[in-house]
Amino acid sequence: MGKCILIYDDDVEILTVTKIILEKKKYRVETRTRCDDIINEVSFIKPDLVFMDLWMPWMEGENALKQMKGNEATRHIPVVLFSANDSIEEVCKRSNADGYLKKPFTIDTMLQLVENVISEKK
């Protein structure tokens, strides 16, 4: 079975297209438009990588990331932030994310980053 990637983004179109791209590379992809139940979802799905959008309704991505990194059961899972927000680099540093992807990005950058982060964690 391929590695599993869980993507959080409130924009359905972003979820659709990233899912297509990653599935082409034989990754298993799960998508969510809300991140306020992140601990349960991550514990259940056990992804190898989480993509997290910063601006999410109901709970901000940074907050969800904090919860994940603060939880014994989920903190080992790498998280990549992705957002069109200019402050993403800063947020990435302060929240201990494993990488970031600034929108708009290319397919190659995305796949390269996914590969790097997953192999690093092995």
């Binding site: 179109e13 659709t16 069109a84 200019d86």
Partner: protein, 567 residues
């Protein structure tokens, strides 16, 4: 006596030569038996020094009354003469001083205040001609009595307490004309040798020009204060060392503190603790350089809230560059600051929102490119996928286009250039179209419509549909936990009334009006998609149709947005 006569020569010795004829006259008088009463003369001493003497001579008669001699008494009066001369000299000097003094000086004698002495200056002021000596003061100056000065003079006469007046207006009749001038004057009791009051002295000087200047200064100061008190800005004046000595009403109104509490450096108490260091440093620097000051900091108002202020101050300097005072004004820029923040947040949201469909467009084009490459064409067994990518890219571009046109609407609203394309259309159909369009992308929500508008409506159909779509989209967006959105349309007299109701998160009461402001975004709305300008665009469109738009809401229970349009 005989001896005297016998020594005729010797009495001549003590009489200065120029007085010998006088002595001869005396002798002839004595011979006739007449006495010579005291008279002042000069005699010579042994050493030839001249001394003043008082001389009295009486004839000495025998029993028959025949003059047999003369008794002569001489008293040395040198000292008395010197003293008298000194007094005369001093009086002369005093008189010259009084006469030539630029101050008006007058002496009034007795209870009736008879003018005993008056110099030229007072004669000019009183304006009743030069011959005023010996006249009663208030007989001469009835206009002063009318102004209550008789009582003042009497008080000085009776109590001995001097009366001092500074820059006081006095009306004096001169050449039949009443003149008002300002004087500094002193009234003081005159005493006789027994220390009893026997008159009143006047020393006065005309200070009309100075008084007018001071009056004007006072007036302009008063005007400044009145003007400053009208200003919404917090105006202040400070001395060269930066101590505030004047603060206008706005300071008191904003801070709830009194002038006295704010004075000197009291106002620093109102500065936000985080800004205090910066303010103090800037203050010190400015005081040192004397340059203009411009600084932003927060001031605590009387409700305990800090508001951003812009403080500007400048030094008023003397000719030599020394700082006289500082004047300054502090303006509340909280609203401006908030708008700036909202605007900059809007720009950041706008760029974020534009980047999302841009990302998907780019990615789909990349995917399509991969499919259309030689390698891709060989591998790809599903040509429909390429079509799907194109369609998706097209959708994203449409989303971009929609966002850009919204942005342009913002500009149009700001410039007041939102034009309407007015036609007559079926309002009910327009509502249905809007519901249908929102339904396509809202999988979880049901729209429940109530009421039918049967009348045709004249207005901009597309713009009004944009309003309804916006209200419905918001209703969906803010009620994710509920699946029903209600839309009710009614005809009320000459009006169409539309209500869009959700069962979502609701809006805080204090923000109900703000939600229609451009760039305003509910705090809880921050992470939601969209520019957050839909309501302000809707509001503008409704107002352009001479309608009204408003919101009712309860936190946690949902929001209803109403709009009415005149038919």
């Amino acid at each position: 006596m005989k001896i005297i006569y016998r020594t005729k020569k010797s009495y001549r010795l003590i009489i200065p030569p120029e007085l010998h004829h006088e002595e001869e006259m005396i002798i002839s008088k004595i011979k006739k038996g007449e006495a010579i009463p005291h008279f002042d003369a000069v005699r010579l001493t042994k050493g030839g020094k001249r001394i003043n003497v008082s001389v009295a001579i009486s004839p000495i008669k025998d029993a028959e009354g025949k003059v047999t001699g003369a008794s002569k008494i001489l008293r040395d009066i040198t000292e008395q003469i010197i003293a008298r001369k000194k007094i005369e000299e001093s009086e002369l000097r005093l008189n010259t001083l009084i006469q030539s003094s630029p101050f008006a000086i007058g002496l009034l004698q007795g209870k009736d205040l008879i003018i005993k002495a008056a110099n030229e200056a007072i004669i000019n002021i009183l304006g009743k001609g030069p011959d005023i000596i010996g006249k009663p003061y208030f007989g001469l100056m009835p206009e002063l009595a009318d102004q209550g000065y008789k009582e003042v003079f009497n008080e000085v006469y009776n109590t001995g307490k001097p009366f001092n007046a500074v820059e006081t207006a006095v009306n004096i009749l001169r050449n039949g004309k009443m003149n008002t001038q300002y004087y500094n004057f002193l009234l003081f009791a005159q005493r006789n040798i027994n220390n009893e009051i026997d008159g009143v002295g006047i020393i006065a000087s005309e200070v009309t020009e100075t008084a007018m200047y001071h009056e004007k200064l006072k007036e302009s100061e008063e005007q400044f204060r009145q003007t400053a008190d009208l200003l919404p800005d917090k105006v202040f004046k400070a001395d060269a060392k930066g101590n505030f000595f004047y603060l206008n009403k706005a300071w008191e109104q904003t801070t709830g503190l009194t002038q006295d509490e704010l004075k000197n450096d009291g106002w620093l108490k109102t500065v936000h603790p985080d800004d205090l260091e910066k303010v103090k440093k800037h203050l010190d620097d400015t005081l040192e350089t004397g340059g203009d000051c411009e600084l932003q900091f927060r001031i605590e108002d009387k409700t305990g809230n800090y508001r951003w202020h812009l403080c500007r101050a400048m030094a008023l300097k003397e000719d030599n560059g020394k700082i006289k005072i500082w004047i300054g004004a502090t303006t509340d820029i909280q609203d401006q600051k908030r708008k700036e923040e909202e605007k900059s947040e809007f720009i950041s949201i706008a760029s974020h929102e534009l980047k999302t469909p841009l990302t998907t467009t780019k990615l789909y084009i990349h995917l399509l490119k991969g499919n259309l490459s030689e390698e891709g064409l060989l591998k790809n067994k599903n040509p429909d996928q390429s079509l799907f990518f194109v369609e998706k890219a097209e959708q994203s571009v449409e989303r971009l286009q929609q966002l850009i046109s919204e942005l342009l609407d913002v500009d149009k609203i700001k410039l007041g250039k939102l034009d309407l394309n007015v036609t007559t259309f079926n309002f009910n159909e327009m509502l249905d179209n809007a519901i249908e369009e929102v339904q396509v992308s809202s999988y979880n929500h049901t729209f429940i419509k109530e009421g039918i508008i049967s009348l045709p409506f004249k207005g901009d159909k597309d713009r009004l549909q944009q309003v309804v779509i916006n209200l419905l989209t918001n209703a969906v967006k803010y009620s994710p936990e509920n699946d029903k959105v209600f839309i009710k349309a009614t005809e009320e007299g000459e009006m169409i009334k539309v209500a869009v109701k959700d069962q979502g998160v609701g809006i805080k009461k204090e923000n109900l009006k703000k939600i229609f402001d451009l760039y305003y975004r509910e705090e809880s709305a921050h992470p939601f998609q969209g520019f957050g300008i839909g309501l302000s665009i809707s509001s503008e469109i409704v107002h352009r149709h001479n309608g009204k738009i408003w919101a009712e809401s309860e936190r946690g229970k949902g929001t209803t947005i109403y709009f009415t349009l005149p038919i």
